[in-house]
Symmetry: C2
Subunit: 187 residues, 2 copies
């Protein structure tokens, strides 16, 4: 397989990575069942199916040693009292880490491994370290788009299915304007 060549990329003012070789656009209907308030989710999809987030990625050969680079633009909003968030995933190769660097907006990177859950703040100038073996998703707790850069190993891969089946053990809710991690079984 051909390896990458030296390259310069730019993050535009709106958070788009250029050039990007793949783009993910997720509306609320692309995340069916991932928010805890199913009624609010259905009503919002009926009312226009809002954009939740976009990912702009520079694809590299998916092999050890290479590093994927992408930006995510996560819109502000809530489904019921649950903040807009990314789908979340484990890496297929479970022991591959990921580094986030916040560019604008305010949010939290939610991670879990086994029954442990951690939330790390992300925003302008902040780094969040997702260690090997931790599933990760990001929630926008602010009122403007949350934009961040991510770097992860070329051979990491994505496992979205586990999260689609089981969700995260805790969810991030707006509790009187304060984000709080709530154990799902406690609701």
């Amino acid at each position: 397989m051909e390896l990458s060549e030296p390259l310069g990329l730019v993050v535009e003012a709106d958070g788009r990575l250029k050039p990007a070789t793949s783009t993910v656009v997720r509306h609320l209907s692309d995340m069916g069942g991932m928010y805890v308030d199913a009624g609010a989710e259905a009503a919002m999809i009926d009312a226009g199916d809002p954009l939740v987030y976009e990912v702009f990625q520079w694809d590299v050969p998916p092999v050890i040693g290479e590093l994927f680079v992408c930006t995510t633009v996560l819109q502000p909003g809530k489904v019921g009292s649950e903040y807009f968030m990314t789908k979340g995933h484990f890496h297929e190769q479970r022991d591959r880490a990921e580094v986030y660097y916040g560019l604008s907006g305010h949010g939290q990177v939610l991670m879990f491994e086994g029954d442990r859950v951690e939330a790390v703040p992300i925003g302008d100038g902040m780094v969040a370290y997702v260690p090997p073996f931790w599933a990760h998703r990001t929630a926008n707790t602010g009122i403007e788009p949350l934009v961040f850069l991510a770097v992860y190993p070329g051979d990491a891969g994505h496992d979205y299915g586990s999260i689609e089946r089981t969700g995260f053990p805790e969810i991030l809710l707006d509790t009187d304007r304060v984000p709080a991690l709530i154990r799902r079984s406690d609701r």
Copy 2:
């Protein structure tokens, strides 16, 4: 070996990563013989041995799957007409890539592999991709500190010795205020 835990870090306004578990401080005398104008280098060391750059790193277990995160603050300046630069290195594991994200200032990431040399601009909002197998160093072509974030694989390692012995095939010189890559044998 214990793996990393979830963690939040912050890049301070001056470019320092906090928390950092290791710091590199390089004055000009720590880079003996790396600039082409040996007379200018000796005179500057005599005149006060200026700070060239500092690296603030969050250390992770040096194993596959983890990712090192660091910031570099590279001062503006020149040795003769050669811009202040980092020492430059290959990764010990030659096929490990690196990603730079520019935070402030203006510069170029110089890379070489075999006899090929590439320069990619780096500055606020710019990403430079260092592919597997390419040696890399960064030069500050501006008048303020160049600050950038770097992410590289936990098992990459550093080989500085090869560059100390052979240098880069091309050097970045100020030619009437314009940075130009000059083949060393052409001088």
